[in-house]
């Protein structure tokens, strides 16, 4: 997979627009879903995704294949930009409640049917990865990942110590890591 992604990136770096179109087809919806979960606003989420692709196109060297996969990099980029925007909105007192973002969302009935076996595998892998996490770790990870709360903010929100927040995040990430295929660990 990493090799395929590197090919995408190399083609994008040479100005191949079809590579960008293919990349959008493979990950656009995931990036949008992530941003939409954080922002709960369709226009904002579309802007973030649009800007992320524009950033990659304009400055492909911002991604370094030595440091990981292109899709992981894009997910982090979109997550961080969405969190920035969410915080900016929050400062303007224009945000949804914590509960809206943290509630458990059942699979959408209109969800696209996975178009390939690898997508099905990925969903199963992901499902078990998250399910295997203790609820306390999931909660802390979600507050950090989807809400962009800092460690002290999470500690205050949940009434736990800073050290507990850090260790729950670290252990959570470690468990997610163990669910990755061996080739990626």
């Amino acid at each position: 997979m990493k090799v395929v992604e590197e090919e995408f990136w190399e083609r994008i770096a040479t100005g191949d627009t079809s590579a960008l179109a293919e990349l959008y087809d493979s990950i656009g919806t995931k990036l949008f879903s992530l941003s939409y979960q954080i922002l709960n606003d369709r226009w904002d989420a579309e802007e973030v995704v649009q800007d992320a692709f524009a950033a990659l196109w304009k400055k492909p060297q911002a991604f370094n294949p030595q440091k990981g996969k292109l899709t992981s990099w894009l997910m982090v980029l979109v997550r961080n930009r969405s969190v920035d925007r969410y915080r900016s909105r929050k400062r303007r007192k224009d945000t949804a409640s914590l509960d809206t973002v943290l509630e458990v969302h059942p699979a959408d009935e209109s969800e696209d049917i996975p178009s390939s076996a690898s997508q099905t595998d990925e969903k199963q892998l992901l499902g078990s990865a998250i399910e295997n996490l203790p609820p306390k770790q999931i909660k802390v990870l979600k507050l950090s990942y989807f809400k962009g709360l800092t460690h002290p903010e999470i500690a205050q929100e949940l009434g736990i110590s800073l050290g507990t927040v850090k260790s729950r995040i670290r252990l959570g990430v470690e468990k997610l890591r163990l669910s990755l295929p061996n080739s990626l660990r």
């Binding site: 649009q50 950033a55 030595q66 996969k69 980029l77 900016s88």
Partner: protein
């Protein structure tokens, strides 16, 4: 190495301070093992991201992404040489908008005050119907269609604005404030509302209405201080607005001055802040709308291209709008831009140019609007078969102290 892993997690989540982020980046760059560990952390966090509830973007998002890539060719329009030699004198204190604001009472006894109030209320009604959480944003326009007829948005008719009680307003600045609320984003909004009302709209039109409505309200608040004092207080807070905001909004957009739709392309856009506060952004936006309306209505196909550059003129941002025009239309545009202000004879096109001249005069603290034109801080020139409209705005310098806080995100 739990400490290193924790640091890499914090770095990926944008929780580190800039200095610490830089240290991590150095470590990743020089130590392959750390780079490998960082890669694993990112992949693990990517799993979290993939757990987000599935949501399908609107179909036109891909088209917009591709348009960005296909049109991101720098400087399609060559700039006239005289423009490249500009070195305007900058005011000691940077202009941060708000200088065009009057009170509604300054409109005198005319019914214009009621029109402004009604229009603002209409914008408030429209807000929930086109926002990013609306049914329209998901492509279901039934509610928007149903409500579009009853929303009290009084849309101006072409060439009727200036003849409708405006000349009786005693306060010169109030005339400009009123016309800013009528001639900038509103005509294009009328075009999209009409489309929706006639049942031809789609989610992309709802998105365009969302931007136009937002801009319209900001422009209205920046024009009349007592229209919505609470939100104006928010608009006046220090908050940097980047060129990216304008690029995202205009890129691939359909724009229409009354019923003359055309496609907007974005060329070179620098990365960085353009304005310091919403009120300044509203004024900057208003200038762009004025020129977009002028040029769009005279371009060959209604379309035009926008570029924002901060490297050509020292300590200034240069906004250029260009389009293919006939020589007749170019001459007409040039006449409109250089035309002297006469309140009694000024038509809508003349006012579109005059609003920009006034704004530039405020930004550079010039004593007259004609000085802005004479010093080339705005203008109209022909290059090949294209007309180029431009205006210059004082830049925000890199050592600017305030602004929008962001996460210490190492990846942006």
């Amino acid at each position: 190495m739990p400490d290193l892993e924790q640091t890499l997690i914090d770095y990926s989540l944008g929780l580190l301070k800039r200095k610490d982020s830089e240290e991590v980046e150095t470590l990743i760059a020089k130590d392959k093992q750390v780079a490998q560990q960082f890669s694993v952390v990112q992949d693990s966090l990517c799993l979290m991201g993939t757990s987000a509830r599935h949501a399908k973007p609107n179909d036109d998002l891909k088209a917009r992404v591709m348009e960005i890539c296909e049109s991101a060719k720098p400087e399609i329009t060559p700039h006239p040489l005289e423009l490249l030699n500009l070195a305007p004198a900058l005011p000691i204190k940077r202009y941060i908008g708000g200088g065009a604001s009057v009170d509604l009472g300054d409109l005198g006894k005319s019914d214009l005050k009621d029109r402004v109030n009604r229009l603002y209320e209409g914008m408030l009604e429209l807000r929930d119907l086109v926002c990013g959480t609306s049914a329209a944003s998901e492509g279901d326009l039934s509610e928007l269609c149903k409500s579009a007829d009853s929303i009290s948005v009084e849309l101006p008719k072409h060439n009727s604005v200036c003849s409708n009680g405006v000349s009786s307003v005693p306060h010169e600045q109030a005339i400009q404030s009123f016309l800013r609320t009528q001639l900038t984003s509103l005509p294009s909004m009328g075009y999209f509302l009409k489309k929706i009302r006639e049942g031809f709209g789609n989610a992309g039109d709802a998105r365009r209405l969302f931007y136009l409505r937002r801009d319209q309200m900001k422009i209205m608040r920046a024009s009349f201080a007592d229209l919505d004092a609470t939100l104006l207080a928010e608009d006046e807070k220090l908050r940097l607005h980047g060129a990216g905001l304008l690029r995202t909004k205009w890129w691939g957009a359909e724009h229409s001055y009354y019923n003359r739709p055309g496609k907007v392309m974005c060329g070179n856009f620098f990365e960085g802040p353009v304005t310091e506060r919403c009120v300044e952004f509203a004024e900057y936006d208003s200038n762009l709308y004025c020129f977009a309306n002028l040029l769009g209505s005279k371009s060959e196909n209604g379309g035009f291209q926008i570029e924002l550059d901060n490297s050509k003129i020292p300590e200034c941002v240069l906004a250029t709008l260009s389009a293919i025009t006939s020589s007749e239309n170019h001459s007409e545009l040039k006449d409109i831009i250089v035309k002297k202000y006469h309140r009694e004879t000024m038509d809508e096109d003349g006012y579109l140019a005059h609003l920009v001249k006034s704004s530039i005069s405020r930004a550079f603290q010039l004593s007259t609007t004609s000085e802005a034109l004479n010093t080339k801080l705005l203008g109209c020139e022909r290059t090949g078969n294209q007309t180029l409209l431009w205006f210059v705005w004082p830049a925000i310098l890199p050592n600017h102290g305030g602004g929008e806080a962001t996460t210490s995100n190492p990846l942006q």
